[in-house]
């Protein structure tokens, strides 16, 4: 418990430092101006969400292979935390888009694939809530989780494969792409901070899942008496 509190306090302090860097260290972008500062939070949260879904995918594969319930707990934990991250991305994106594009939303490749990703992981959590038997629930949701992850590379490559409304990648986008050196440092600091914050949420959510399992075991013991 003590270590978890220290981790939480450290994560929150890092978030405050990242917000300071976004507003007072990063230079103002020449074309978009102040609104571009949403980028550091929006893109870093997207990266953290996609990493979280990758951990979910690995946990799902390990559950299918080993049938250890701990992988099932990690899978559902990461699916939920990743879903929260992608929800934030889907909210901050349109707030950024409206003053720049003149529209809140368009069904372009990046936006649509991200929305589909959000729907897939909502379906993952809904599927779990519909199955009562723990082993069956774990196996079916692990199989669905592996399928849902297929959309993550699609989201990543969508702005590389198709030129639509969403801007082309400024990070790992090949020749002609890139950020101002200070913006680059601030962005990667945000990526690090959002990954640490997501890890904190994963730890807290995993504790809930472990305790739920303890309750189920005690309930079975009580019913057997």
């Amino acid at each position: 418990m003590g270590k978890r509190i220290v981790f939480g306090v450290a994560a929150v302090l890092l978030v405050v430092a990242a917000a300071y860097a976004n507003f007072f260290v990063a230079p103002t972008e020449r074309t978009m101006g102040l609104i571009q500062r949403i980028f550091y939070f929006h893109a870093a949260t997207a990266w953290a969400g996609e990493t979280t879904f990758f951990v979910c995918f690995v946990a799902n594969l390990l559950y299918i292979w080993k049938r250890n319930p701990k992988y099932d707990w990690l899978g559902v934990t990461c699916a939920e935390v990743g879903l929260v991250c992608i929800t934030v991305v889907l909210i901050t994106g349109p707030i950024w888009a409206h003053p720049v594009w003149g529209i809140w939303w368009t069904w372009d490749a990046r936006l649509t694939s991200t929305f589909v990703l959000w729907l897939l992981y909502i379906s993952y959590l809904l599927l779990r809530s519909l199955i009562e038997e723990p082993d069956r629930r774990a196996l079916l949701s692990a199989l669905f989780g592996v399928f849902a992850f297929l959309d993550v590379p699609l989201v990543f490559f969508s702005i590389r494969w198709w030129r639509t409304q969403h801007p082309a990648p400024v990070i790992m986008g090949g020749s002609g792409s890139g950020l101002d050196p200070t913006m680059n440092k601030v962005f990667f600091f945000n990526v690090l901070v959002m990954h640490i914050f997501a890890a904190f949420l994963i730890v807290e959510r995993y504790v809930v899942e472990k305790m739920k399992n303890d309750v189920e075991l005690l309930q079975r013991e009580a019913e057997a008496q």
Binding site: I35, Q219, E221
Partner: protein
């Protein structure tokens, strides 16, 4: 300071989503902990 309201809204709503999720986690943890204690007590009484 053009678009300051949009930047403020994005950060405020984004962090509010994380905060609400964290509050639900704390609530779920405390509910499950109470249920765990209740079950442990009822099992120890019946033994």
């Amino acid at each position: 300071m053009k678009n300051l309201d949009s930047v403020f809204a994005a950060y405020l709503i984004g962090w509010a989503v994380f905060f609400i999720f964290f509050v639900t986690l704390v609530k779920r943890t405390s509910d499950i902990r109470a249920e765990l204690e209740r079950l442990k007590n009822s099992l120890s009484r019946s033994k």
